[in-house]
């Protein structure tokens, strides 16, 4: 008798946005395995046309509820690039600090609420409240820290208010920064607990290596999430962000409705593991020690380890934030009213979202009204790589129980921390 395996998951749970999994196999041979994206398209690039540069951040922040700070920063960097606006060192540091709040919030949410249930054999975090109350409370405290942090600098937990082209509409007080510093310091034991928990569960992460290309921002001096050029594990040369279209190479494939991306190979990965693989030698001491505890080194190519890289990055941003706050307090904060005079131009903003590199390109007319936009999101760049992982993983696990196969495929998708409602488009826009 033929042994059939048919897996059809509609709307994979515990991830942001809608994705489906299809797998069919017979007699241990995978016939078809597919990662699909049925998200309702939202057409942001079309919607921003005709809107003032002043409104762009407010609109595009709404692309994503989880990485709204990242989208805000990418858009204002793009606008500043288009209009030749320079920002102060204070603005630069406060933005990076705000961005780090999002990392703590997003990574702790992903690892603690979305991934941990898989590692502990549960369907959601809710049963963990009873079975692992200390772990859940640790995650809650870290998550709240990230949120309070974004609120202090961005004015609100989700969809920041203060981040605008040229600078800030309002800045925190020095007292607020001192309090933030104290709560980050106090959160270090919680971070260590989270690290210990993930470490104790790390053997539950499937052993599955697949060599691929990793792409992330790179800066010569530090582990970057905000400044720098585009780097790849396949080449030593970096590409300026203004030429991102030559990296992402969006293209149509017959088996997927979403466009795929490729650079040197037929797919590439973005996200925490990519950043680690490119920048690991610049980690600060606590993060470097964490990486060592996990035995994670440059060249890691098990996609499930993205979750470990996220934990390492929590340590990295916490440590760097303490430095940034000290620098800001040493120079002293001063209000810097922003008045931007619009001008015609085109520019690119690029920032690392928790889930990978994000590109925004805008063109404006002389009144500062947007004439064109092109947004390339990290999850869009990962789709092809998820598919390639599926194709490599499925034959290795096809003799296992159907529920286990399904779980491993779902966990693989989750490990990328996809953010599908970011869905904007998957096409190149021709800029003239």
């Amino acid at each position: 008798m033929t042994k059939k395996v048919n897996i059809s998951v509609n709307h994979v749970t515990r991830l942001e946005g809608h994705g489906n999994i299809r797998l069919s196999a017979s007699d241990g041979k995978v016939e078809h395995v597919e990662w699909q994206v049925p998200e309702a398209p939202r057409f942001f690039e079309a919607m921003v046309r005709g809107r003032s540069f002043e409104d762009i951040q407010t609109i595009v922040s709404r692309i994503c509820g989880i990485c709204s700070v990242t989208h805000s920063l990418a858009s204002i960097k793009g606008i500043e690039d288009a209009m030749g606006i320079e920002v102060s060192e204070q603005t630069d540091k406060l933005r990076i600090l705000c961005h780090y709040g999002e990392y703590i919030e997003s990574h702790s949410l992903h690892v603690g609420y979305l991934v941990a249930p898989d590692l502990l054999g549960q369907n959601s975090v809710i049963p963990l409240i009873e079975s692992h109350p200390d772990v859940v409370k640790t995650v809650i405290r870290l998550h709240r820290l990230g949120n309070t942090w974004m609120e202090i600098i961005g004015g609100r937990m989700t969809h920041p208010i203060t981040l605008k082209p040229g600078g800030f509409t309002a800045i925190p007080s020095e007292q607020q920064l001192r309090e933030l510093r104290k709560s980050i310091e106090e959160a270090v034991p919680d971070l260590k607990t989270l690290i210990k928990v993930v470490l104790s569960l790390a053997d539950k992460l499937p052993a599955f290596d697949r060599d691929t290309e990793y792409i992330a921002l790179k800066h010569p001096d530090y582990y970057t999430f905000y400044h720098g050029d585009i780097a790849s594990t396949d080449t030593d040369e970096t590409v300026p962000i203004q030429r991102f279209e030559s990296v992402v190479n969006e293209h149509v494939v017959p088996q997927s409705t979403a466009k795929w991306c490729k650079w040197h190979r037929d797919s590439y990965a973005v996200g925490a593991l990519s950043r680690f693989n490119i920048n690991a030698d610049m980690l600060l001491p606590m993060a470097a020690a964490t990486a060592k505890e996990f035995g994670l080194e440059k060249g890691a190519c098990n996609p499930y380890l993205n979750n470990v890289a996220q934990v390492i990055e929590c340590a990295q941003v916490a440590e760097h934030s303490l430095q940034l706050i000290d620098e800001l307090l040493t120079t002293g904060l001063k209000p810097e009213p922003v008045k931007v005079k619009p001008r015609a131009g085109e520019g690119v903003g690029c920032v690392e979202a928790p889930r990978g590199i994000l590109f925004h390109r805008y063109a404006f007319d002389e009144k500062g009204l947007c004439t064109k936009a092109n947004i390339c999101i990290p999850t869009g760049q990962n789709h092809a790589n998820i598919q390639k992982d599926f194709e490599a993983l499925a034959p290795q696990i096809i003799d296992r129980d159907q529920n286990e196969i399904r779980l491993l495929l779902e966990m693989l998708v989750r490990s990328y921390d996809p953010c599908i409602s970011c869905s904007t488009h998957y096409l190149n826009v021709e800029f003239v």
């Binding site: 407010t58 609109i59 709404r62 949410l109 998550h143 208010i161 509409t169 409602s421």
Partner: protein, 246 residues
């Protein structure tokens, strides 16, 4: 007392309002004494057709969404619209300023005709089915959400503010945004957000929708005082409230 069974469903949106539920932090644990989530894709694997309250996030932009929403409405005893995208169409309304063909071609080029990219002008949830309660805002105010869900679980009737953001803004002692030569929707927008934007140096862009009966004459007076017209106000409304009339 049996717990209120709630199910979350998301349509076209950023899912940031569902995310706010996580932002209740420890309070989630208390809330779970009163409510039982039976479907919540962003958080749990389980699904269910048996729920008391359906919480709908996002706008309706496709015919298949409309069918799905109607089927949810049939199963739910009460239906709650969560966040601006659901209550008014939210930022997705910006799409309605253009022809749908143009919108699709702008983003998808030659692939615009592919059937899965079909879209129609954005609708709020109440344009498709009856909405019993709404939690407005982009994002929602999580305290308001918690209050509404608790009230329903305890059999009480929740009430949300029906006065303007200006009231909350004044209580925060903010300098009026009109003083900065900005156009602020505070005079006609429903309060309940703690005037977060004007308190952070931004004008109100009306994400919570308007109060039930906006006092347009008063708004006109404010506008006139600062040398602006009601049309300036209408221009600002395009961002979140283009559907609402006054």
């Amino acid at each position: 007392m049996s717990k209120l069974k709630v199910a979350f469903f998301d349509f076209a949106c950023c899912e940031g309002c569902q995310l706010q539920v996580y932002n209740l932090e420890e309070e989630i644990i208390d809330l779970l004494e009163l409510v039982e989530p039976v479907e919540w894709r962003e958080a749990m694997t389980d699904t269910s057709d048996d729920y008391d309250a359906a919480i709908i996030e996002g706008s309706i932009t496709r015919i298949e969404d409309e069918r799905r929403l109607k089927s949810i409405r049939e199963k739910a005893k009460v239906l709650i619209a969560l966040g601006s995208c659901a209550t008014t169409g939210g930022v997705n309304n910006l799409k309605n300023n253009f022809e749908m063909q143009d919108v699709k071609e702008c983003v998808y080029g030659k692939d615009a005709k592919m059937p899965h990219l079909n879209t129609y002008p954005t609708k709020g949830v109440s344009e498709v089915v009856k909405v019993d309660y709404m939690v407005p805002g982009c994002p929602i105010n999580i305290k308001e959400f918690s209050y509404i869900v608790r009230s329903l679980a305890l059999g009480k009737e929740p009430k949300i503010p029906d006065y303007a953001v200006c009231v909350e803004c004044k209580m925060k002692e903010n300098v009026c945004r009109f003083e900065y030569d900005e156009i602020c929707l505070g005079p006609i927008t429903r309060a309940g957000c703690d005037a977060k934007c004007p308190s952070s140096g931004m004008w109100c862009f009306g994400c919570r929708g308007f109060v039930d009966k906006p006092n347009i004459n008063a708004a006109k007076d404010v506008m006139a005082e600062y040398g602006k017209t009601i049309d300036d106000l209408r221009g600002k409304m395009l961002l979140f409230g283009s559907k609402q009339e006054f």
